[in-house]
């Protein structure tokens, strides 16, 4: 049902669309291969929820008088594929709006690409490097926090409430953990905390026994800036290695995907505190509960929405709202649509979302703790919320000790 799919007759690229056009094609990028292959399913689930609100589905909907079409391209999480697929969506399919991508590597590339096609509007999916909204791309919007913002409030909490004075850092060696750990430790250090060692491990490290053996005895807690599989291996081995330090999780370390794995990681994971855009499992507000319920109806949904589904939803819904507000007017370089996007002030399932001058969202952030739920299954508990978290200006690099020291 997607007319954009048959290359020959699809609309010409966005900027050339006649004013008052009442058809908008959105190109969606999400990961369909590699470690984050489930990204596409989560993206579709999120989009499905948002579209259902307008009586549509993942392929399209009528929003007011505007017909919205969706076209999907899967990537493998690398910048090369993201670039190729974005170009295909923009230049071949002729989409008016780009939505996505999933990973940070892709995100940085997509921003660069956005700079070269000013007539297309880009709405970020879940990519969270700090730098993305600092590149000055007027056509690029992000409706969730960057990965440094995800740790907003956690540094203070760890120091003051938990009383951790010294924290050891184990993180993957690439841009996402730089920002994430940077965000955490800059707050933690500012509060008076101390970093007593960093271990930057290559992505894909499976054997953490030796890393774990490095943790100094006098450390109060361990920051774990690992994601997905690496987090799972770390936690599993933390159990067999009998690690006895509390953990501070990077935003994706104890995501549902890690907790829902089969390995028995309870002993290590319980008590871990973490920060991020996704609230704990006990969180309950009407909007959140509705979202979770709607999400669960989508095909291929996980038991609860992953961070990717939450972020894709929180980003896609404002896009639809802006289309509605601007009545699908794409004239004048999509000025009306962009104005509407910038003006977003939305009570999302995870709190109020407004935009700053860099088209970067100002959001609420959640602090959670891993607890053992009924029947021993792991779950998360909300422990604190930081409201109105704004983006900083520092793009973090790999650092030793406290960031910037």
């Amino acid at each position: 049902s997607s007319p954009a799919n048959d290359g020959g007759t699809s609309p010409a690229p966005g900027g050339e669309a006649p004013a008052g056009s009442n058809e908008i094609t959105i190109g969606v990028l999400a990961t369909a291969e590699g470690n984050l292959a489930f990204g596409m399913d989560e993206a579709k689930a999120a989009i499905g929820v948002a579209m259902a609100a307008y009586g549509g589905d993942v392929d399209g909907a009528m929003i007011g008088d505007t017909k919205v079409n969706l076209v999907y391209e899967g990537t493998d999480g690398t910048s090369a594929t993201a670039q190729t697929k974005a170009k295909k969506l923009v230049e071949n399919t002729g989409v008016d709006v780009m939505f996505g991508p999933v990973s940070g590597d892709e995100g940085e590339t997509i921003v660069q690409y956005a700079l070269t096609v000013p007539d297309v509007t880009f709405v970020n999916g879940s990519a969270s490097p700090v730098s993305m909204t600092l590149e000055g791309a007027e056509n690029f919007f992000r409706f969730h926090g960057d990965s440094a913002m995800w740790m907003g409030g956690l540094g203070d909490y760890a120091f003051k409430d938990k009383g951790y004075k010294k924290i050891y850092s184990i993180a993957e060696d690439y841009s996402f953990p730089y920002d994430n750990a940077g965000g955490f430790f800059s707050e933690f250090c500012a509060a008076g905390g101390e970093v007593n060692g960093n271990s930057w491990v290559p992505v894909g490290t499976t054997d953490y026994a030796t890393i774990i053996a490095q943790i100094p005895a006098d450390t109060d807690a361990v920051y774990v800036g690992l994601g997905g599989a690496d987090a799972a291996s770390f936690l599993a081995q933390a159990v067999t290695a009998g690690i006895n330090k509390p953990l501070v999780g990077g935003s994706i370390a104890v995501d549902t995907t890690a907790l829902s794995g089969d390995s028995n990681i309870a002993a290590a994971a319980v008590g871990t505190i973490t920060g991020g855009p996704v609230p704990g499992a006990d969180f309950s507000t009407p909007t959140w509960d509705t979202f979770v319920a709607d999400y669960a109806k989508q095909p291929n949904a996980f038991p609860s929405p992953s961070i990717f589904a939450v972020l894709y939803y929180n980003s896609f819904a404002p896009l639809l709202q802006a289309i509605e507000a601007s009545k699908g007017d794409l004239s004048d370089n999509q000025a009306a649509l962009r104005a509407a996007l910038s003006a977003t002030d939305w009570a999302s399932p995870t709190g109020q979302i407004t935009m700053d001058a860099n088209r970067q969202a100002i959001v609420d952030n959640f602090l959670t703790e891993v607890v053992e739920g009924d029947g021993g299954a792991l779950t998360t508990k909300n422990i604190n919320e930081a409201t109105g978290v704004k983006q900083g200006t520092v793009v973090y690099q790999r650092f030793d000790g406290c960031p910037g020291s």
Binding site: D76, T78, N92, E108, V203
Partner: protein
């Protein structure tokens, strides 16, 4: 050992005038007209056209080494990546002018190839393959970690397409013709080298290095020369890569990228210097369009790949000859006269299959 297609009879004395020339010219004409034939040039030119060209150029360097030197290198994309990093580093970090950056990139790639050659020239067949694979992984891991030089996983950007004076690459058509010219140049260079006495000597070394030394040839020097030359060709591909992507990051040289080159070479025909471009077109089409038919891009690529290997071992480039061969065989069966095509496989070692099917039944 390390050769795929049955090669090459003699290439002497036939010079440039071969039956393939006409087909080659037609293809070239099509390639020149390509930007004007497609309906969405901004998509087709970079995503299919330019991508096929650089995939082809890098794969050509692999084919050259395999066919004339008997070495299968998995480091060709790595070399191209080094050249791309070189251009990007010169542009982004050092702020050098485009021409200088290009020369810098080419030098980095070629020099790296030379150093690889010094280590690898002594190793043979499988070891060479593994050594180049390992070198590729070393560079990939390093590029993904060395924040100071490569900016780690973020990579170096932006590398805009420059105005070279003679040609403004910022214009997509110009960039395409730039890449096409580079491809033609690479092909002519490879052919020229292959038909020279040097090229013949390389083939001699491929078949019997001991004999070559006994004849007074410095085998190592020839091998190093050939690998360095192939690295230069790959480096040219790398320059196009960096301008095509406007950036360079570790994904340019990861394992998938390495395998892509192998796939291109095989689909095109690993014995053919020109077939690589057909391989490049097939792969870039698969990459861009397979998702319109299936979610399983990799499975599709794998199936195409295996099908080529099983049924058209000489790749797309060899299909013409294969059809001819089948025709002859049919004719032969009909007439039952002993008009036979030369056996395809080296006749010293026919497989058991051939023996049982072709042997006489009584």
């Amino acid at each position: 050992m390390t050769r795929l297609a049955t090669p090459t009879r003699s290439e002497k004395s036939r010079g440039w005038l071969r039956p393939g020339l006409i087909i080659g010219l037609i293809v070239l004409a099509l390639a020149i007209a390509f930007p004007h034939l497609v309906d969405r040039p901004k998509f087709w030119i970079p995503n299919i056209g330019i991508k096929s060209l650089w995939l082809g150029i890098v794969a050509m360097s692999l084919v050259f080494l395999n066919r004339y030197v008997g070495l299968l290198s998995l480091a060709q994309m790595t070399i191209a990546g080094m050249s791309a990093y070189g251009v990007a580093y010169a542009t982004v970090t050092l702020g050098l002018s485009p021409w200088v950056s290009i020369v810098f990139g080419l030098m980095i790639g070629t020099l790296a190839g030379y150093l690889v050659a010094l280590v690898a020239a002594r190793t043979k067949a499988i070891y060479f393959l593994m050594l180049t694979l390992a070198l590729g992984q070393v560079f990939y891991s390093w590029a993904a970690q060395a924040v100071d030089v490569t900016n780690a996983s973020r990579g170096l950007y932006p590398v805009p397409r420059p105005d070279l004076g003679v040609m403004n690459l910022a214009d997509l058509n110009s960039f395409y013709y730039f890449a096409l010219a580079a491809a033609v140049l690479c092909y002519l260079l490879c052919r020229y080298v292959a038909t020279s006495s040097f090229g013949l000597a390389l083939q001699g070394i491929r078949d019997s290095p001991e004999r070559m030394s006994a004849l007074g040839y410095n085998v190592n020097r020839y091998r190093v020369g050939a690998i360095t030359f192939a690295s230069f060709i790959a480096s040219i591909g790398g320059v196009i890569v960096v301008f095509d992507r406007n950036q360079v990051d570790p994904s340019v040289v990861n394992l998938n990228a390495t395998l892509d080159i192998l796939i291109v070479a095989v689909i095109g025909g690993i014995g053919s210097l020109l077939g690589v471009f057909a391989g490049g077109v097939v792969l870039s089409l698969l990459l861009n369009f397979s998702q319109d038919f299936t979610d399983r891009y990799m499975t599709l690529t794998g199936l195409v790949f295996i099908a080529v290997l099983l049924f058209a071992p000489a790749g797309l480039a060899g299909i013409g000859k294969q059809v001819q061969g089948v025709k002859d065989r049919v004719l032969r069966k009909k007439k039952s006269a002993p008009v036979l095509e030369p056996v395809q496989e080296p006749p010293t070692k026919p497989s058991e299959e051939e023996l049982t099917t072709e042997g006489t039944q009584r």
